[in-house]
Amino acid sequence: MTPANTVILIEDEPQIRRFVKEALETEGWKVFEAENGKRGLVEAGSRKPDLLVVDLGLPDMDGVEVVRDFRTWSTVPILILSARTEERDKILALDAGADDYLTKPFGIGELLARVRAVTRRRLQGLETSPKQCFADVEVDLSRHSVMRNGVPVHLTPTEYRLLGSLLANSGKIMSHRRLMQEVWGPNHTESSHYLRIYMSHLRQKLEIDPAQPIHLLTETGVGYRFEP
């Protein structure tokens, strides 16, 4: 990764800042730290970062506000750090434009995996290949075909749209609301049980053990994620 990609780390706890900085630096990131939301937004404005890491519980302003503010002028990926008890805030942050979140406490491995997932498209250019493979499944978006072990799998139009939406945001978390919006349209964001049923159908057709999925993952209380 040359020249070094920059990341703004907005976190008020120096201990957490320290190890997140160290971990990111081992991956070649240039890290700028900010201990509050206002300072973070100023840094973000001047440094032209490739990634924003934001803690939800900041001393001066709500992390969701930081995300909302930043999203008005930038499309750079945002990774949220939050505590387990803040499900509602997580959803708010995702709906405000955040790309993913990490629940405290988290390990270095999880942190780097998330960072890679949210920055993959931006840093490696859009993958234009219409073919995507995971496990024994091969999806060809250009031909609307899904094969499993070389055998065609029949998907209903809704299932196909759902799969397409998840694949297009591979590795990133998709809130229930956002998935409903993409698959059923903006007027169907309330009855999420449809989403759960169709997700279950997809798992039945594409996962080896639908009850212990490896690729079509549930993010409890928040949404779903496709993990390649």
Binding site: Q15, A23, P105, S192, A211
Partner: protein, 500 residues
């Protein structure tokens, strides 16, 4: 005493009437040479009219007769005798008497109506004063005092008896007959007059205190035994109005109390949740640092420094375990406060089971997990974050209390009106005599066992499942090992149209 003075004034008015009639006769005597007898009749009629107006019906009737007699005696020839020369005068007497009586009746009725109106005006004014005084009260004692003040000028006395939270009238506990009448009045929503009940007798009115939302008690009005007279409708209406005003005042006091209570509870709740979230934040932040820095240390360890790597990963795992304990403690504190807001949604067990297994990946790494879900499992309404907590606790227990390599099974099925999930292991099973107490706080199968945990896990599971209207039970499997099952009510899941 009042009646006595009334009698005296009545006697006086009769005497006055006689006197006035006599004076009129005397005054008219010298005029008889100048005036026609017809005009003298007019004078007498005028006097009867004035007496009726001023002194009432009785004196007026009496003076009407007296006027005829005096006229006959002093003016109609032959004078100073009741004999009559001309029979025509009999017509005069009849007309004079009839006009006099009619005048007396009309004037007296007018007089009574005016007095009635005055009385009513006084009552309205007193009611207005009562309403004003009741509006200023802040306690039920003050309401009672205002009522006593209102009744003080009359022959009645009123007492209030309010229903308590159980719908009882504690202040009437010792008066069984009165209490049963009071309950009847509350049930009927209308007043009861004991003078109309031959069984009880006495003279007591029992009025329900009807406020806009409910009946809050009764007002008992007792009338002094010395001054009992049939209480008329006006009195009853008056007391009903008093009861209504009192009921409204009591209702207002009730809602003031409710509002204060709610405010108190809300501020206590705010305090509790802010303490919990501060605690959560302050304890989790160092744990996050610990996990992260142990990871940094583990990654940085040279390959030959295996003990450094092991120590670092061990620090990380212990910190994570501590975080789980913290989660459990905080959850229990929230659940125990009884103010958990369930964010229920119609969803599938499959989602939470899958995510729980994934969350516990490292704890379950030594145990193959087998998930068997019945194909007819419907959508179930639950809070997924809390249910994930239940499943994580059950799976963690299963892993903790069974040997390395022993499989864990998760089964989902429908049983009657419930959707069930059972988590079973192949460990040593549960001590039979302690199965029930496992679900109480800080209870563990073996006290001081070397396995970490404080015995909160199952208590939390029970609190969460019960908050969903379900139940949870532990048992030992036939082939050995423990099995914990929970049941959630099926309800009416929304239908989903399938597409081809």
């Amino acid at each position: 005493m009042q009646d006595k003075s009334k009698k005296i004034t009545l006697k006086h008015s009769y005497l006055t009437a006689i006197l006035v009639c006599a004076v009129t006769a005397l005054a008219a005597t010298p005029l008889r040479h100048f005036l026609d007898l017809a005009n003298i009749v007019m004078l007498f009629l005028l006097v009867v009219f004035l007496i009726a107006l001023k002194l009432g019906r009785g004196p007026a009737v009496m003076s009407a007769f007296l006027a005829v007699a005096l006229f006959d005696f002093f003016f109609v020839p032959p004078r100073l005798s009741f004999a009559v020369n001309d029979v025509q005068y009999l017509v005069t007497f009849t007309v004079m008497l009839a006009v006099g009586l009619a005048t007396a009746h009309l004037a007296a009725t007018l007089h009574m109506q005016a007095e009635d109106a005055l009385e009513r005006e006084r009552n309205t004014h007193r009611l207005y004063e009562l309403a004003r005084d009741l509006a200023g009260t802040a306690t039920q004692e003050q309401v009672a005092q205002v009522l006593v003040l209102y009744m003080s000028g009359s022959a009645h006395s009123a007492t209030l008896h309010l229903l308590d939270v159980d719908g009882e009238l504690p202040s009437l506990g010792h008066q069984v007959a009165l209490a049963s009448l009071a309950y009847m009045a509350i049930k009927q929503g209308s007043l009861i007059d004991t003078s109309q009940l031959s069984v009880v007798g006495g003279h007591t009115l029992i009025l329900p205190l009807k406020s806009p939302s409910e009946v809050r008690g009764v007002m008992v009005v007792e009338t002094n035994a010395s001054s009992i007279k049939a209480s008329n409708n006006i009195d009853k209406k008056q007391f009903e109005a008093v009861a209504n005003l009192t009921a409204i005042a009591i209702e207002r006091l009730h809602y003031v109390e409710v509002a204060q209570q709610t405010q108190l509870e809300a501020s206590a709740e705010r305090l509790r949740s802010s303490v919990l979230s501060a605690l959560s934040h302050d304890l989790r932040t160092p744990l996050t640092g610990l996990v992260g820095m142990a990871d940094v240390l583990a990654l940085a360890a040279e390959p030959q420094l295996e003990n450094v790597y092991n120590a670092a990963t061990s620090i990380r795992d212990q910190a994570r375990a501590m975080n789980n304990l913290l989660d459990n403690l905080l959850d229990m504190a929230r659940l125990h406060a009884g103010k958990v807001e369930l964010r229920k949604d119609w969803q599938l067990f499959e989602d939470v089971i899958g995510s729980s297994i994934k969350l516990l990946k490292s704890a379950l790494s030594q145990h193959p997990v087998k998930v068997v879900l019945a194909p007819d499992l419907p959508l179930v309404e639950f809070d997924d974050v809390l249910l994930e907590r239940v499943l994580c606790n059950l799976l963690e227990n299963a892993a903790k209390y069974s040997a390395v390599g022993a499989p864990i099974e998760v089964r989902g099925f429908v049983e009657g009106e419930f959707a069930c999930v059972a988590v079973s292991d192949h460990g040593q099973g549960l001590p039979v005599d302690q199965i029930e107490s496992l679900f109480t706080m800080f209870s563990r199968g073996k006290s001081e066992s070397s396995t970490i945990g404080v015995g909160l896990g199952l208590a939390i599971c029970r609190a969460i499942v019960e908050a969903h209207g379900g139940k949870i039970k532990a048992s030992n499997c036939e082939g050995g090992g423990a099995c914990v099952t929970f049941w959630l009510p099926l309800g009416n899941p929304p239908c989903v149209d399938s597409e081809q």
